[in-house]
Amino acid sequence: MDLQLSAEQEQLVAALAGLYSKHASSEAVRKAESSDGFDPALWGRLTEMGLVAMAVGEANGGWGATTLDLALAVEQHGRAVGPAPLVEAQVAARLLDRLGDPAVSEVVSGERMITVALHPAVDGTARGVPAGAVADAAIVLHEGALVLVDLDGRRQTFENLGSLPLADISLHGVSPDGPGARVLAAGPDAGAALERATDDWLCLTAASLVGLGARALEIGVDYVKERHAFGVPIGSFQAVAHPLADSATALDGARFLALEAAWAADEDIDRAAELAGMAFGFAGDAARAVTAQALHVHGGYGFMMEYDIQLYWRRARAWTNVWGEPSLAYRRAAAMRLGA
């Protein structure tokens, strides 16, 4: 067993930590909230640095990074609650890469942002598609086929708890050979490809949630060390300290579970998909708990928009509901395990 990152991984993490601290401050995150939760400047830097290209295999012009590398990258993204749909772009890029679709080159070059609808369209609409508000195109399972569809004129955005670039995508009038749409896969392959993309999304979102949670814990811990009540720092009260200790423990565990899930995907280990579901469920639970606690220990300030902790709480709840709640991921994992 070896839990040490490689030198290259350490470099990647350090480079990203630097990028996010410069270009995704909480001011930037707040500013992006009024424009679909998207910061085009940050997105430009991320694509320039190759954060999407890394997800694509070398054969298709990408960097051929491992899932583990991606997980380490999005962990940093999560720490900053970065206002850009990095996970979705990476997951879609992997999907295009696997299907060998020519659009992959536009994704590698940064020309187009492509996302993926995590659930099949129902009655011609894919609801709540992540990055749907800002992507150029989306991959949607529609009437049994996996379709790449241009989003101009097809999206309806909506305000949401996490200030995320979500949108409902209408597939009305899409025809396989019509303009702005292309069938990527059909039949059982289509469903299987979406399932695989969902595993990727669960695994990478788990890693982002770990980063988010870890930063929220730091914010909470810093606050309770400084804030005094009844003549002592409030962090000395067991009612404050003990839940934070539980969260620190859960987050350490969530991190290893998410990284194990990523590693298992790279190594093509049987349990990889099961681990992805478990990792999402557990990281989701941990991120929700720690953001709620860290917010609560701020007292009235936790409830103020001016303090950063609410940014973390809102995204922890939103990221864990874009696909579905943690308990659904546990069901998914156990169904695989129990062969049901």
């Binding site: 909506f158 009260f237 409830f303 928009m305 874009v322 709640e325």
Partner: protein
């Protein structure tokens, strides 16, 4: 034992529901939410017209003279419908303190004006550096002849930007123990030394920070004895000690139950389990609050029943809001008032709202400590 509230109270509930149905159209609800201020002229005038404003004040004093049960029913319905009552509730709470401890001028002019809905008072207890430990207030009041000079700042002074007076807790004496050096004042908010700065919260409500910079008030603005502020304060906070969020939990459940029926999910065992649990907790929250009222009516002095009602109702609301938000699934993310949101996004709003309830009016930790020490007799 009898768990019925009685025909009179239930008739009153019906009447209030009609009033609120009439007042709180979708547009008015949206307007109130967007303003961030829990105050509305139609609400104030309607409540006064019906005689429900300051409901538990005797008729001689200008109130409605409602008995404790009737007043509780009023509170249950206002809460369940999230009526724009904050400015009025706080003002009448201040009026109560003024009646008990204020000057003749306060009692003869300001109190009646509050009861006519013409004067708004806000609370100035909490400070940026002290929340739960209210007695640690640092805002200084220094005597200068028959005036006082006040410097400091107050936090979470909701409605200060539309209010007339702030009920201010100050430190008047730094040479005695912290509870003994406090004095309270009723300070006009239009004083040039006062600056009100907006603070926005997660539930969309606007509150404020109030800076007091060499604010000069006459000694006639004082409420109660010099250095007697803690007594004034504790006697006026009794109401807050039975704050209950049960009505909000019930509202949440009504929305989620409607969602379940509309989407046909109501026969899913998972949906039933989660709604059933939250319903049980809502019933418990309601009963714990009703117990306080029953004790008031029966003349039984309350111990930790108020803290229990506050603690349980806020914790159960928070639990249920998070769980039922999840139950609704990805659609629950859609914001309050977004046209695509299920149940107009009220479930999303209530989840944000719930977070504050375990903090204000005494955090859950403060309530648990009170219950442990005063109720269970555990050592400090």
């Amino acid at each position: 034992m009898d768990f019925r509230l009685g025909d009179e109270a239930e008739q009153l509930r019906h009447d209030i529901q009609l009033f609120l149905d009439d007042l709180l159209t979708d547009d008015v609800e949206a307007e109130i939410y967007r303003s961030g201020v829990s105050h509305h002229p139609g609400y104030v005038s309607g409540m006064i017209e019906h005689g429900w404003f300051a409901g538990n004040w005797s008729k001689e004093l200008g109130g409605a003279g409602l008995d404790p049960t009737s007043q509780m029913v009023v509170q249950e319905e206002l809460g369940r419908r999230e009526a724009p009552m904050n400015a009025s509730s706080v003002s009448t709470m201040v009026a109560k303190a003024l009646r008990a401890h204020g000057t003749d001028q306060m009692r003869s002019e300001i109190v009646p004006s509050i009861l006519r809905g013409e004067t708004i008072c806000v609370l100035g207890f909490t400070e940026p550096e002290c929340g739960s430990d209210v007695a640690n207030a640092q805002t200084r009041a220094v005597r200068d002849g028959d005036h006082w000079v006040i410097n400091g700042s107050k936090m979470f002074t909701t409605n200060a930007h539309i209010g007339d007076y702030v009920y201010l807790l100050t430190r008047s004496n730094v040479e005695v123990s912290k509870h003994r050096g406090l004095t309270t004042f009723l300070v006009p908010l239009d004083d040039p030394g006062i600056e009100v700065q907006a603070v926005y919260t997660l539930s969309g409500e606007r509150t404020n920070i109030v800076y007091l910079n060499d604010v000069r008030v006459a000694d006639a603005a004082r409420i109660g004895e010099v250095d007697g502020g803690w007594q004034v304060l504790t006697s006026s906070l009794v109401d807050e000690q039975s704050a209950s969020f049960a009505p909000w939990l019930i509202r949440l459940l009504e929305e989620v139950e409607a969602w379940a029926v509309e989407t046909g999910r109501h026969d899913d065992p998972d949906v039933q389990e989660r709604i059933g649990r939250a319903r049980a907790e809502a019933e418990v929250a309601l009963l714990l609050r009703r117990r306080c009222t029953w004790m008031d009516e029966a003349g039984i002095p309350r111990g930790i029943e108020g803290p229990m009602a506050k603690l349980f109702s806020s914790e159960s609301l928070t639990r249920a809001a998070q769980d039922l938000f999840d139950l609704v699934g990805p659609d629950a993310l859609r914001s309050f008032l977004d046209p695509t949101a299920p149940r107009a996004g009220r479930i999303e709003y209530l989840m944000r709202f719930s977070l504050g309830t375990t903090i204000y009016a005494g955090t859950s930790e403060v309530q648990r400590t009170m219950i442990a020490q005063r109720g269970l007799g555990l050592p400090r």
